[in-house]
């Protein structure tokens, strides 16, 4: 299985090479005699001698892959050198993980330290696994550390053929929009197969900002018509590590008009995804419509059973529109898993939902997302959405529908208290005394609560939150809702006021002074859909 990379930038396909370099290629490594400084990286084409090759992230060869696959977006380390990297892509050129003899290349986002050839590879994150392979080279390519050597591939994913020193004709982006990239990536000039499983490739659409005048990508995208598979995704992303692009293309965890930005005010959704296996990672998407339906991503699946990931994106629909469903899941014809991790989802506070699942065939897992001013936070009509570690702020309409019992550690700030009481509980029982604005349980166990823990009176369906943990047998509450004998549930959900770095400036990083959301989430490193870093690629504990 091989990886292919194609770039798209609103700048277009004009030549952006630095100087007049010569190129030579040996074993898939291109050496240029002029350091490159342009806005280039993975997915860009290098043309020379009437030939062309595509830049890939720096990589490490490996052998002796065991039965534990090295997965995408995992953090690995070399046991001898201590070098670490996060995996962007994997080529399997021989053997297999199942057979315990996989060999090929690991393409990395960035590098700390210096990889050695012949050292054991461990996986550090999301969870530790020892001896998953052995390096068979040092780091290949010096993108981010010299910018004269680049891993280069042919259009169908194999290494570019060897080449003696010749002049570079051009270095350029391949497409001028994500829409054109999605249209052309499987044509005869590229993968040459609309079936990624048959072609046995993982396709990466690399989105670059316009370095000349920061023009947005204004063309909406429909992802459909290509066969994908569990090992053959279309991965749409913004190159952000020093080993995959000279400049970071991804937003800095907040809105940035100088990074890749997909926006217009004409279409109901900026990205409509019909395919079975896709990843959208690190994009800024804004729907600027001021009337009618407006949203960022419409998730569908008309292909086969599949899995879709929406990761590290900033999704905005802030116009005065009649209906805003920022991430809208419908028309799921096959069993589909939809995973949303580390996204900022910003609505217009007027109508619609931040995340809305309409389809019984979709199972949705939304972890560590920040929902801001979505009129209604989330909705699921079939109780198939699991919410963990999400932050909901100023979502005045609260939630609609029901959710799985696994929901836990969500924080609600200025939403609807009664609609925050769902999911995992710390404890439950019956009040053993009546005391104004108190929950008393003489049997103890209440010290598991936190200030802000959401409390439900399960006898009469009234709600409060904890204002103080008085003792193991008594909590102070925001409302007087208990008399002796009434049932209670103390949820892991929290009702608190969060402090952002610059809320008015649409920067939803947690401020250094915030005590509401810091350190109160649950560790999801071992979850089926693990979260071990954040929207800024900083590691979580």
């Amino acid at each position: 299985m091989l990886s292919v990379f194609y770039s798209a930038s609103p700048f277009g396909t004009g030549d952006i090479k630095t100087g007049s370099p010569n190129i030579s290629i040996t074993s898939g490594i291109a050496t240029l005699d002029v350091q490159q400084t342009g806005n280039i990286g993975a997915g860009c084409a290098i043309e020379y001698n009437s030939l062309k090759a595509y830049i890939a992230p720096n990589r490490i060869a490996f052998t002796s892959g065991g039965t534990t696959p090295i997965g995408l977006n995992t953090k690995i380390t070399g046991v001898t050198s201590g070098a670490t990297s996060v995996v962007r892509a994997i080529d399997i050129t021989s053997g297999s993980w199942a057979g315990g003899d996989a060999a090929g290349y690991i393409y990395v986002r960035g590098v700390n330290g210096t990889w050695q050839s012949g050292e054991t590879i461990n996986i550090l994150r999301p969870t530790f696994s020892a001896d998953v392979g052995t390096t068979a080279s040092i780091l290949q390519g010096n993108m981010g550390n010299g910018d004269t050597q680049f891993v280069v591939k042919a259009a169908t994913g194999g290494d570019a053929p060897n080449q003696g020193s010749v002049a570079v004709t051009s270095i350029h982006h391949e497409f001028a929009s994500l829409s054109a990239c999605e249209t052309g990536y499987v044509d005869a000039s590229h993968i040459n197969n609309a079936d990624l499983t048959a072609a046995n490739v993982m396709a990466y659409a690399c989105c670059y900002y316009d370095h000349d005048d920061q023009t947005y990508d204004v063309t909406s995208v429909a992802i459909n018509g290509v066969t994908t598979g569990a090992n053959n995704y279309l991965y749409v992303y913004t190159p952000c590590g020093s080993s995959e692009a000279i400049n970071c293309q991804r937003h800095p965890g907040k809105v940035s008009t100088s990074k890749y930005y997909l926006a217009n005010g004409t279409d109901s959704y900026l990205l409509v995804d019909y395919q079975a296996y896709t990843v959208v990672d690190g994009l800024q998407i804004e729907n600027e419509k001021t009337s009618g339906t407006a949203g960022c991503i419409n998730v569908k699946n008309t292909s086969t059973a599949g899995t879709k990931h929406i990761l590290n994106c900033i999704l905005m629909s802030v116009g005065a529109s009649s209906v805003v469903n920022n991430v809208y899941i419908d028309l799921i014809n096959y069993a589909t898993i939809v995973v949303l991790l580390n996204n900022v989802i910003e609505g217009n506070a007027y109508s619609g939902y931040g995340l809305y699942n309409t389809d019984i065939d979709a199972n949705v897992y939304a972890y560590n997302n920040t929902f801001y001013e979505c009129q209604n936070a989330v909705r699921d009509v079939n109780a198939q959405m699991t919410l963990k570690n999400n932050l909901f702020c100023d979502c005045a309409g609260g939630t609609v529908g029901s959710f799985t019992a696994s929901c836990t550690h969500n924080l609600w700030d200025n939403c609807v208290l009664s609609e925050a009481a769902f999911g995992v509980t710390h404890t439950s029982g019956n009040a053993t005394a009546t005391s104004a604005n108190k929950l008393v349980d003489g049997g103890g166990g209440l010290s598991v609560a936190l200030v802000g823990s959401v409390i439900k009176n399960t006898t009469d369906n009234t709600y409060a939150y904890v204002t103080a943990v008085d003792s193991d047998t008594q909590l102070s509450l925001s409302a007087d809702i208990f008399t002796i004998g009434e049932g209670y549930a103390v949820y892991t959900a929290l009702w608190r006021t969060v402090v952002f770095e610059n809320e008015v400036g649409r920067d939803y990083h947690l401020d250094n002074t915030d005590t509401a959301a810091r350190g109160v989430g649950t560790n999801l490193s071992s979850d089926t859909y693990p979260v071990w870093d954040d929207i800024d690629r900083d590691e979580r504990p």
């Binding site: 396909t13 084409a45 051009s170 052309g184 044509d187 004409t266 279409d267 009618g292 419908d330």
Partner: protein, 158 residues
């Protein structure tokens, strides 16, 4: 030499819209057709190389993308949703020139198509000497794809 009159014509920058359409090599059966519009770019955006070998580019001289869209969108559509509690909302659409809403059954991959333009029309669009009214008349042939699906006309909404 100076131009006669208030305007110095040599100081006006040329402008041209580039309409990128599906060509034979990028058709996906049942998904998109030749002349479906993939993207629109101004003339300062280079569209060359392997990325555009299987797409066709229609050049419209003396008009910007915004000016092209101002005409093309007149034949476009409006979209909305009907709240249908407790069921999911219903997507609806109407032609911009009409007041009748319909249920949206089929969402095409691309919004617009130039399929009704003849080669003479395309030549007119590219012709520097063709008048703007002539070009706008040609652009009036550009169609939105939603109304082209009979399913999208099956259920008018009260």
């Amino acid at each position: 030499m100076s131009d006669i009159g208030a305007d110095q014509a040599t100081q006006r920058k040329p402008k041209m819209a580039q309409i990128v359409c599906i060509d034979i090599g990028t058709v996906r059966d049942g998904i998109c057709d030749v002349y479906d519009v993939v993207e629109m770019q101004e003339d300062n955006v280079e569209l060359t190389g392997a990325g555009y070998e299987n797409l066709k580019i229609i050049k419209i001289t003396n008009l910007t993308v915004a000016e092209v869209m101002a005409v093309v969108s007149l034949n476009g559509i409006d979209t909305d949703q009907i709240i249908n509690e407790p069921d999911p909302p219903i997507d609806i659409w109407k032609p911009k020139q009409s007041a009748t809403w319909y249920e949206l059954q089929v969402q095409p991959k691309f919004n617009y198509t130039f399929e009704d333009l003849t080669q003479a029309d395309i030549n007119t669009l590219a012709d520097e000497l063709a008048t703007t009214p002539d070009k706008l008349a040609v652009l009036n042939k550009v169609k939105h794809k939603v109304p082209l699906y009979i399913q999208n006309l099956a259920n008018p909404v009260e």
